[in-house]
């Protein structure tokens, strides 16, 4: 009997090929969407962790309230003691101080007068300590367009776009004009060692990267930093552990009513990525749900369109002596088979396209001209383990659900009625 039904299914493209293709297409879209969102989610998490938020971040309480203003008068002091303490209490993470600052970068002519100048956003990290994890983390070597990494104190990197616009050359002297932590004027000369491009809109307009020791000196911030970032090994954000670390750390300083005492936040606490991640997770869920609904309706409709044909067949089978329950089971079985085949097909196709997007990505830099958040220019998909099964939820769910519901009409109609729909 089963062989008989399978034979019929395979011979009738309206019942096998077309549903499989429809389900396959839907599943493919689901898988692709899922991988895409996952990839973007991860890219954004990684990018903002590396460049901005860390997996956890320590600032003073006061600084943490207005981080956008880079208020270095509220910077953390005593980092020479704080950083070793962090390594002692939480050795599996990497702890790095950074200074963020704004200023003007001025390129003088032969006589020392301003030739060109432009505003920069500065990021001071450990560039010079042998084995510094920051150089690798920021992928500075890969970001170099011209020149080389700083090798000795007094050397800096700037965005290639910035250097081009100002028309400055490698190894020119550049004067940083900024404010010290105490509100005085800071002026310091540097040598332009190289230019960089990160492929991130905001970072590529006018970023200055300098060694933290140089900037501590220039901005009068000895033993201070804007923030200390903590990173998990392999750059994998672990929300649970981050929360644990945050709780532990903050408990120590909880009762100190000093706005200069340190406070820890996790990546998810910080408005940019945290909100984005919640948003993404919510949308993945909503999408899958809506998709099941839409696919159910589509499949149901294709089912109903071939229904007139189908009713006749069902009527005959009932007249010949098949029971309604058996016909219903056979319909569900068919739905399972086509849903499964379509899901497998769609998952394969979806993974294929996702793989392409994972390796190549799509350049969206044109859409990001005015974006002010850290958003990679090239978005890539990521094939997560969920990609292998996520498509089966709508693929099987919708098909089986659709036939469960539409098949009820077999029971609700007189058998003779099934013929009449055929005859008219």
């Amino acid at each position: 009997m089963i062989r008989f039904l399978v034979k019929g299914l395979l011979r009738d493209p309206n019942r096998s090929v077309f549903p499989v293709l429809i389900v396959g297409a839907g599943v493919m879209i689901t898988v692709l969407f899922y991988c895409w969102v996952l990839g973007v989610r991860e890219d954004i998490t990684r990018t903002s962790a590396v460049l901005d938020t860390g997996h956890v971040k320590i600032t003073t309480k006061a600084y943490g309230e207005i981080p956008g203003q880079m208020p270095n008068d509220l910077a953390l002091s005593g980092i020479g003691r704080l950083v070793p303490e962090l390594f002692r209490d939480c050795p599996e993470m990497d702890w790095v101080p950074r200074i963020k600052f704004g200023g003007l970068l001025d390129f003088p002519d032969d006589k020392g007068e301003t030739r060109v100048q432009g505003p920069v956003l500065g990021m001071a990290v450990d560039l010079l300590t042998p084995g510094s994890t920051e150089v690798r983390r920021l992928n500075l070597a890969g970001a170099i367009v011209r020149g080389r990494l700083p090798e000795k104190p007094g050397e800096i990197l700037v965005s290639e776009e910035f250097a081009e616009k100002l028309g400055v050359d490698l190894y020119e002297t550049a004067t940083l004009i900024s404010a010290t932590a105490t509100g005085g004027m800071a002026v310091q000369n540097f040598i332009l060692a190289g230019t960089v491009r990160f492929g991130i809109g905001v970072m590529d307009k006018g970023t200055l990267i300098a060694d933290i020791t140089d900037i501590q000196y220039a901005l009068d911030m000895a033993d201070s930093a804007s923030e200390i970032l903590g990173f998990f090994p392999d750059m994998n954000f672990d929300e649970v552990r981050a929360l644990g670390e945050k709780t532990r750390f903050n408990a120590v300083y909880e009762n100190i009513r000093d706005e200069f005492s340190p406070v820890m936040t996790t990546l998810k606490d910080q408005s940019g990525p945290g909100e984005y991640l919640d948003w993404v997770d919510r949308w993945i869920f909503i999408f899958i749900f809506v998709f099941i609904l839409v696919m159910s309706i589509v499949l149901w409709n294709t089912g109903l369109m071939s229904g007139i044909r189908r009713y006749g067949e069902i009527g005959v089978r009932l007249a010949i002596g098949e029971s309604k329950g058996h016909v219903y089971q056979a319909l569900i079985g068919e739905a399972l088979a086509t849903g499964m085949a379509g899901s497998i097909l769609g998952t394969f196709l979806g993974l294929g396209f996702s793989y392409y997007l994972q390796e190549v990505g799509i350049d969206i830099s044109g859409m990001l001209q005015s974006a002010a958040i850290l958003f990679p220019n090239i978005l890539k998909a990521k094939i997560g383990s969920g990609a292998f099964y996520i498509g089966f939820i709508p693929g099987l769910g919708a098909t089986v659900l659709g036939s469960l519901v539409s098949g009820i009409s077999i029971f609700s109609r007189e058998t003779s009625q099934l013929f009449k729909e055929l005859e008219t």
Binding site: K7, R11, G312, G315, I320, G321, E322, K324, G325
Partner: protein
Amino acid sequence: MEDQILIATERLVKHYPMGKHLFTALNDITITFKSREFTGLVGPSGSGKTTLLNIIGALDSPTRGLVRVMGQDTGTLSHKQAARLRSIYLGFTFQTYNLLPVYTVYENVEFPLLLLDMAPAQRKKAVLQALEWVGLMDKQKSRPSQLSGGESQRVSIARAMVKAPKIVLADEPTANLDAANSHNILQMMIKLNEELGTTFIFASHDDKVIGYLKRKITLTDGKVVEDARMDLPEGRNTC
């Protein structure tokens, strides 16, 4: 055994909703069918022939009244029991043949036996036998779309006969056939009736059918207006 009662209806009424009113398709039908009958339900279009056949076959349920098929009150049967009743005792043929288009002639005829869980060897024998009865041994592998109307109706009859049912219910078996094919089909049916003792009940308004009947029940507006034995039916000796 000659006069065993296979089907009995009692005060059968069938209403269909028609706008705000009820349309009476069958009106108080009490009638019995015995074994070895070759009976026609005749009457003008809309007189209720198909409706009566469908109710006898438990494909439709009456509004009021009783139907007993093989001693079972069809009104009390579950879906499953009704299916079993049809599967074992009843064969159907249809005006529009209703063959399953994706299956071959052989497979169409085999289908009722699959429902009966018959062993493969026995099944094959029965299918070939049925195809021989209707003279379609050479079309086993054809699809319904490749058959003429007469051939399709013969497959439909083979499918009804393959399980050697007690009763065959045939709705307008000749309506779509030309005269030669109609006579051919009817002669085949009467042969099966006489050789196997199968009861045939037709619904038809085709004069050609009437010539073959042993019993003629005339319906008008859902009522039996005549129930006649046909002595010496013409045409029966011509085959």
